[in-house]
Every structure is written in C-alpha cells, then in structure tokens.
C-alpha cells in the first residue's frame, strides 16, 4: 500500500534536506533602542517578566552582553533547504504526459495519495488545474491525464444520489 517511490526518493535527499543552515551572520548590530528585545530561547523562562502588561514592551535587553544567541533567532538570517520531491510519476500508461504537465507545480506523492475517485471528480480536478492554476495542459493531453489518474486507484463507485 505504501508508495515506495516517496520514501526512496526522500531518503536520497535526506542529506541535502537537513542541511538547515542558520548562518551566524548577525544581520545588524542590535540597535540601541529597545527593539532588540531578545526572544526567549525556550518557554519564555528567562524573560524578564514585568507584572504590568502595559510595561511589557520595552524590556531592557538582557544583562549578558556576550551571551550567544541559541536556537532560531529573529536576529539572524535563516536559510533552509527543502527537498525537491520526486521527478517522475508512477510508471503507467500516460505517465510521461503527466510528468510534462503536472510536475511543474507539485511533486507526485500528493496525487499518489488520492483515493479512488469518479471520472467526474478527476475531470473537475484537471479543469481546476488548468483554469485556476494555469497548468499549461494541451486539449489533446486531457484525456490521457484523465485516464492515467483513474488508472491509479480505479474508478470510484460512488453512491451519489
């Protein structure tokens, strides 16, 4: 039942993906004004706690001047790497056409996770992708894509009224 394609591809990408690099480049020397109120590192436990909510804003910066910022910070540039996802749809008749038309917006697993649907439902999905999301699907490709999608899990026998 698992679509192994996902986990496999993801596995390959693991190294790159976790390469979350929070560069230590302090964007700007903390200004003298109170804006530089540091966020608590965790749980707010170390934050000075004014009793009066009205006084909550300009908390004086923490005493420890040289303390290292820890964890994610609002004062540093954050760079992350996102896995690109698979670049091919499951190999069934029509997959090449689906690759050509569908990959530019989304990777395949979201389609692989769809349940059995009716032809009418899949037709509406293709229509939405063309009209609302501007997928450049040629008229000639619509039937191929429809057949491919229906073939993934078979056509639903829905008890619509």
């Amino acid at each position: 039942m698992v679509r192994p394609l996902n986990s496999k591809a993801i596995g390959l990408l693991a190294a790159a993906a976790v390469a979350l690099a929070v560069t230590a480049s302090h964007a700007a020397e903390p200004k003298k004004d109170k804006e530089a109120v540091p966020l608590p590192d965790v749980g707010g436990a170390t934050v000075a706690a004014p009793a009066d909510p009205a006084a909550a804003k300009p908390v004086t910066p923490k005493k420890k001047r040289g303390a290292k910022a820890r964890g994610p910070s609002l004062d540093r540039t954050v760079t992350v790497a996102l896995p690109p996802g698979d670049d091919v749809y499951p190999d069934k008749p029509g997959a090449v056409v689906v690759d050509r038309n569908c990959l530019s917006c989304h990777s395949p697993e979201i389609v692989a996770n769809q349940p059995s649907l009716t032809r009418a439902q899949w037709t509406a999905v293709i229509g939405k992708m063309r009209d609302a999301y501007k997928a450049p699907i040629a008229d000639d490709d619509v039937q191929t894509i429809l057949d491919y999608l229906v073939s993934l899990r078979g056509e639903a026998r829905t008890k619509w009224r």
């Binding site: 039942m1 986990s7 993906a17 000075a48 996102l82 917006c105 990777s107 697993e109 999301y133 639903a156």
Partner: protein
C-alpha cells in the same frame, strides 16, 4: 468571556506538564553554527538517553523508529511515509514534498495540549517559498485605504505591545480523508492541526500605524509565498475590518516561545484565533486595506463551503450558494487509543483525548464506549484558553468483543458534534464525531500497533 490576553509575565506562571517545544529547544552548548554548516536539528529527547546511567537492569532498547504512519481513512490509501527530511521538523507524516505539506503524527497530540514547533503541521499552496529569510531586511507593508502607507521592520513591529494567545491552527481540510464519499484534495488524516502559544502584536496596532481610512470594509493579507504559475493570483486571504481590529487577531513572531520555523511562516504569521488556518497567512509581508469586499480567487473559489451552518450538502447536490469557510467548529479526538488496538476485558481502561470548541471554548466532552448508544461525561483538564485544546479523560471497563469508542464535544455556545459528519465536495470543515474501533479480547493489551 474575554480572551485571556497575557503578557510575557504569563510564562512565569506554573506551566502544565508540557515539555518545552522542541522546535525552540536550545541546542545544548551549541557553538555558533558555522555559516552554512551545522544543523540546529532538535536534539534527541533527553529522556531517551538520560536514564541510561541509572542503576539496575539496562532499559530495553527503544522500539525501532517508525518509518511510516497509518491514517484511519476508509478506502485508503492509508499509509504515508514518516519523514525527517524537512528543515526544523522532526518526524512528520508526508503528504506532499512540493509544496511542503506535512501532517502531525497523531500520537503527538497525546503528549500535551501544545504541539511542539518541530512537530507542528505544515501547509503551503505553491512550492514557491523563500528558503532564505533575512529578518533585518524583512518588511511588512501596510497600504491601500490608509492615511499613510507604512513599511514596518520587525524591530518596529516588536516595539508594539506584546500579546500572547494559545490557539489552534487547523487546516480547513483537516480530516479530508475521512469524508465519505471521498473527495479530492490533500488527503489529511486528523493531524492537519496544531495548538501553540503565539506571541506577537495586535493586528489592530499595526493597522493603526498606517491609519485606517473611513470606508475600509476588509483587510487583505499576503505572504512571501509566490504563485506557482504566471497568471495565478498569489495566495491572499481577507478578514472583515471589524474582525481584523477586534484585538484578538495578532501578527505573531513566536510560537511556543521561539521564532517560527520557516515552514510555519518565519518571521511573521497572522494568527486568527477560532478561525481555520487558511487565514493564518504565513511569512506575512503585505496588508492591504480594501474599500470593497475581496473577490480574489482565494476568497471566492478556494476554501468555500455551502452557505449553511454546517457547510453541508448531500453528495451530488448542485446550484447551492457558497461562502468562505471561517469559524471553526467543535471537534474532539481520542489520543491514546488507536484504531485496531486491543484492550483486555474487565480491566478499567483510561481513555484520554483532546477537544476544541472551535470559535469558542469547550463546555463539555462526553465519551461513549458503545458506539454512541450511551455517553458519560469526561473529566476536563485545565482550561488553557478558549481557543486552545482542552484535554479530557474518561474511564471504562471494556467488555470482550468489538468496541467502538467515541467522544463528543459541546462548546460554550451549545454547539455539539453531530453523529453524522457533514459533507461537502471540497472536503473541509469536518464536524462529525470520530469513532475508534478496537478489539477487546483475552490476549491482553497488545503492544503498540
């Protein structure tokens, strides 16, 4: 009952026994991360290794880490990979790589009323998300029907009075996979939601910096997410002016005491307590005051439900009026018993879970161990705010056989979950009672299943 706004001081109050959010956990004695290098991955839970040095028999080896999750959806596909491949995230249920759509594994909800940042669900609309964010260059623009357009730095925003609210962020399509008949869309299980303590400033205070002009009817929000194809409007959502300025809607720069993970909208996210997550615009960088109702695609065509109280139609119905989804509805879940689990007969069992009132607080939760024929009142844990999860628990003594467990939440407006779930073709705003089928047999409680 007003919202219990609290300043930072609230963090000094006794906290429930919720472990600190891992996403915000400090990396112990982490040297400053080398540029482009080390990964401030959440450190392994200390309890995993901490006791090892203790006395006595060595603890049993930890169970092998799960690599997939099974979602309780009839008709499947039920299986999803569990992935750790996304930045600032621990193990998540993979729904989509691009755009990133990640579900919170359901057992996380059994651990506390707050969802840790590194397990908090993720949803985007296109794959086009900035992957580098420089907070010092970030600006939030406020324009449109205002006296003076402004472009606010994070520093300027953070100089406004801070407020905090604990609130549930739930995708409108959460639990779409449970719709019967099934509908297309992200096939969420029940983990397309999370609850966090959000810290930020009132939206109203930000709007006042620009000066709201008379004639403003709605306020529109846009983030740094780009659309996937030319010609597709960028993701934008709007709130009525009265809602936007009610003091409850905030622009958050922290969740659970730490900056937002990038995939949850770093550095700023709109927080609309009691409303579905589609309004909680991520990487918020643009606010426009409108003098006419917003008719952009994302308001009139996406996330719309039939214009009925429950957003409900019969499959096959056509020609009905629609409205944008908005307020959330009461829901409740059992968190410590999974579908298909086995229990021992005759032994009192503790069932616990979470409930949400939707757009208001939880008044009560009832529990049924006979498929809804009879109900007992569950004990509610402490109230952590009307927009927060309310944990609950109940006891029952299972009898042998197949047993259907259910929970039913009633909110403080008197709205209860219905036995029959609502249905609409978009698969959003699910409100029905969720059932967990288990087997009570003589084999005793089965191991994790």
């Amino acid at each position: 009952m007003g919202v219990s706004w609290t300043a930072w001081a609230a963090d000094q109050l006794p906290q429930p026994s919720v472990p600190p959010a891992k996403g915000g956990a400090p990396v112990p004695d982490a040297a400053p991360a080398p540029p482009g290098g080390a990964t401030p991955e959440p450190t392994p839970a200390p309890d995993a290794a901490g006791d090892a040095a203790a006395a006595e028999p060595p603890p049993p080896p930890p169970p092998p880490e799960a690599t997939s999750a099974t979602l309780p959806m009839e008709g499947g596909p039920k299986d999803r990979p569990l992935t750790k491949d996304f930045p600032q995230k621990g193990a998540m249920v993979l729904q989509s790589v691009r755009p990133p759509i990640l579900e919170t594994p359901f057992e996380v909800f059994d651990k506390g009323y707050v969802t840790p940042n590194d397990r908090f669900y993720v949803a985007w609309h296109s794959g086009a998300i900035p992957t580098t964010v420089d907070p010092s260059a970030f600006r939030l623009s406020v324009h449109g029907n205002v006296r003076r357009p402004v472009s606010l730095s994070l520093a300027e925003i953070r100089s406004l009075p801070k407020v905090e609210v604990t609130a549930i962020d739930q995708a409108p399509g959460n639990s779409r996979g449970m719709f019967q008949p099934r509908v297309p869309g992200v096939q969420w299980g029940n983990g397309g939601m999370g609850n966090a303590k959000w810290t930020g400033v009132r939206l109203k205070d930000i709007l006042d910096k620009a000066g709201i002009m008379p004639g403003t009817v709605q306020v529109r929000f846009k983030g740094a997410e780009k659309s996937s194809n030319p010609g597709v409007p960028p993701y934008m959502k709007s709130l009525d002016l009265a809602h936007a300025t009610n003091g409850e809607v905030i622009v958050a720069f922290a969740m659970n005491g730490a900056p937002l993970p990038v995939l949850n909208g770093f550095p700023l996210k709109l927080v609309v307590p009691g409303w579905y997550g589609c309004y909680w615009v991520q990487m918020l960088n643009d606010i426009e005051l409108l003098s006419a109702p917003d008719t952009n695609y994302w308001m009139v065509s996406a996330d719309v439900v039939p214009a009925t109280a429950r957003g409900d139609v019969q499959p096959g119905d056509t020609g009905y009026a629609t409205r944008p989804v908005g307020r959330m509805v009461p829901r409740s879940f059992i968190t410590n018993v999974k579908v298909g689990e086995q229990l021992a007969p005759g032994q009192p069992a503790l069932v616990r879970g979470i409930a949400m009132g939707g757009d208001t607080g939880v008044a009560r939760v009832e529990f049924s161990s006979d498929g809804g024929k009879s109900w007992t009142t569950a004990r509610l844990d402490k109230d952590t705010g009307k927009y927060s999860f309310r944990r609950w628990q109940a006891q029952f003594t299972p009898k042998a056989g197949s047993v259907t467990l259910m929970s039913r939440c009633t909110n403080t407006n008197g709205v209860s979950q219905s036995r029959d779930a609502n249905w609409n073709p978009a698969g959003i705003m699910r409100d029905g009672i969720e059932a967990v089928q288990i087997t009570v047999g003589d084999d005793g409680p089965a191991a994790e299943q």
